[in-house]
């Protein structure tokens, strides 16, 4: 009993620890990355005892200290209680969604089989959408409680944008649910361990040498869904090109214009935690999650013949490592995107969401359904 509880607590702690630290590291990567793209040197002032070489570590320590020692300003005409509550509501959903994301298959400890996922819910993906849908409150309430016209405009933009793209995001995932036939993220990740060749019907034998060797990852079976999901997820994180709620050049800083100190740090960390969550979702739904192609529970089995057997612990470590690498790749992709493209205009954001992503998502669902029925 106690061991089970300890394992669950350890998993929850590990996931929170990783996500929060990765959020901090991403803050540094964003600064250094933007400097690299814009041909600057970037954050190099934080040095302890003249030792600036460890830029990452120093920035990681210096940033929170700077934020936490600043004055916590609440606008006199604002709503003090909601102004304090809003950053918590912005950070909370990004952290709790990680509970259902599997970061590995199973870990075998003696006679115990530990599922490498904090909570295995049979509603998996719906839980993620439910929590993500609460993320908008942090913006709206923070914007309203600041009693500032700029922040209110940012909040109104944010709520409209997030509701619009939530629909496209939800619909883009339907195809994945139809292909793998489950809502559980661990089952979706396991389903991506097969090869496309295993799914192909007998009558499609001519495709076998062409695509049969590919792993049955979501991105190969549902390429359009991945594009739609990616765009919608970036819009949900409210980053360039969808940073209308923030819009520095028009709204100063949008919904968090009246925030400083620790509360701003929470908005800031929440944004990076959202990036990590979005990256983990892209990995789990479309890029095999913790799967490495041809790696089964006891080693590699290559389709062209040949096997390479491995110890269970090595397999687990490889899987967790693969998951981490994939998540890091998608985090980096989102940061690269931010410094590569300009911001949309507000009507363009709405047009893209409702008139392009939404119909395309419906089309994807229809085509997927027809193909599944035709293949049966």
């Amino acid at each position: 009993m106690m061991v089970d509880l300890a394992i669950v607590a350890a998993k929850a702690f590990l996931v929170l620890f990783m996500v929060l630290n990765l959020a901090g590291v991403l803050g540094w990567i964003e600064r250094k990355g933007s400097a690299l793209i814009q041909d600057r040197i970037g954050a190099n002032r934080a040095s302890i005892f003249g030792f600036a070489g460890m830029g990452l570590v120093n920035t990681l320590i210096a940033d929170p200290i700077k934020f936490l020692t600043k004055e916590d300003f609440v606008p006199p005409q604002g709503d003090r209680f909601l102004h304090t509550l809003a950053p918590c509501m912005a950070l909370f959903p990004a952290l709790v969604t990680f509970a259902v994301i599997p970061f590995g298959d199973v870990l075998i400890l003696g006679d115990r089989v530990v599922n490498l996922q904090v909570a295995n819910l049979n509603i998996g993906i719906l839980y993620i959408f439910a929590m993500a849908s609460l993320g908008v409150y942090g913006i709206v309430i923070g914007a309203w409680a600041s009693n500032n016209k700029f922040s209110l405009l940012g909040g109104v933009r944010g709520s409209a944008q997030m509701i619009s793209y939530e629909i496209a995001m939800g619909l883009s995932v339907i195809g994945i649910l139809m292909v793998y036939g489950t809502l559980e993220l661990q089952e979706i990740a396991r389903g991506q361990g097969a090869l496309i060749g295993d799914h192909l019907a007998e009558s499609l034998w001519f495709l076998k040498p062409l695509v049969g060797w590919l792993p049955a990852w979501g991105v190969f079976l549902q390429p359009l869904a991945f594009l739609l999901f990616f765009v919608a997820a970036v819009a949900e994180t409210k980053r360039v090109p969808f940073d209308l709620p923030e819009g520095e050049s028009e709204l100063v800083a949008g919904y968090h214009v009246e925030y400083s100190g620790g509360k701003f740090l929470m908005f800031f960390a929440g944004e990076f935690a959202e990036i990590v969550t979005a990256a983990a979702l892209m990995t789990t739904l479309f890029f095999g999650g913790w799967q490495i192609p041809y790696l089964m529970r006891d080693g590699f089995y290559f389709p062209w013949g040949g096997t390479w057997l491995l110890a269970p612990l090595a397999v687990t470590l490889l899987q967790v490592g693969a998951f981490t690498l994939k998540v890091l790749f998608f985090c980096w992709l989102q940061i690269l995107l931010r410094w590569s493209v300009p911001r949309f205009r507000y009507d363009q954001v709405m047009r893209l969401g409702w008139k392009m992503l939404l119909p395309l998502a419906f089309l994807n669902v229809m085509v997927t359904a027809i193909v599944i029925i035709a293949l049966q």
Binding site: D79, I123, L126, Y127, Y137, W144, S159
Partner: protein, 170 residues
């Protein structure tokens, strides 16, 4: 923790949740600030969802958060923020009277139902698949497919009606 221990804890969790839920519901009514009322309603809906989770209906609980707390209340807040009702409406005694009478009728009905004797005795303990997405989908698309389709047509009519009304204004 064993199942037995969890079961002995569940009344405690239920009463805690219920107390918070009643508190949030009261705050919806008694807060004078509209945004505070709306946020109390969000809290009440969220707590109801947790209540569904403790009743082994995670699907209903998640849909409660997704639809009510996550979408409908955001639209409420959207409208409130646009209209910005900073001037508080004065209390109207007539409406308070009507509300009190309605609340008392509801309370009387609830007491009558719960004290009717066998209402709470003939319960069945739900099995494991109860409330799972598979079971919900099974009953929605077999036993209740007509009501389901009628409800979706009704929603479609409402959307089309809203679009037509909005276009006429412009």
């Amino acid at each position: 923790m064993s199942n037995l221990q969890i079961m002995s804890l569940s009344p405690l969790i239920f009463y805690l949740l219920a107390a918070l839920l009643v508190l949030a519901a009261l705050m919806v009514v008694f807060q004078r600030n509209v945004v505070h009322s709306a946020m109390a309603l969000v809290a009440a809906l969220f707590l109801t969802a947790i209540l569904f989770f403790t009743l082994h209906a995670p699907m209903v609980g998640v849909l409660q958060v997704l639809v009510y707390a996550g979408a409908i209340m955001v639209l409420f807040l959207f409208v409130i923020m646009f209209l910005n009702p900073s001037a508080l409406e004065e209390r109207r005694t007539v409406w308070w009277g009507c509300g009190a009478v309605a609340a008392m009728l509801l309370a009387a009905a609830l007491i009558a139902v719960t004290s009717a004797g066998n209402a709470l005795e003939n319960f069945m303990i739900a099995g494991e698949p109860f409330g799972s997405p598979e079971m919900l989908a099974q009953s929605l698309f077999t036993d209740f497919v007509l009501p389901f389709e009628i409800a979706s047509v009704l929603l479609l009519v409402a959307i089309v009606g809203a679009v037509v009304l909005a276009k006429r204004e412009g």
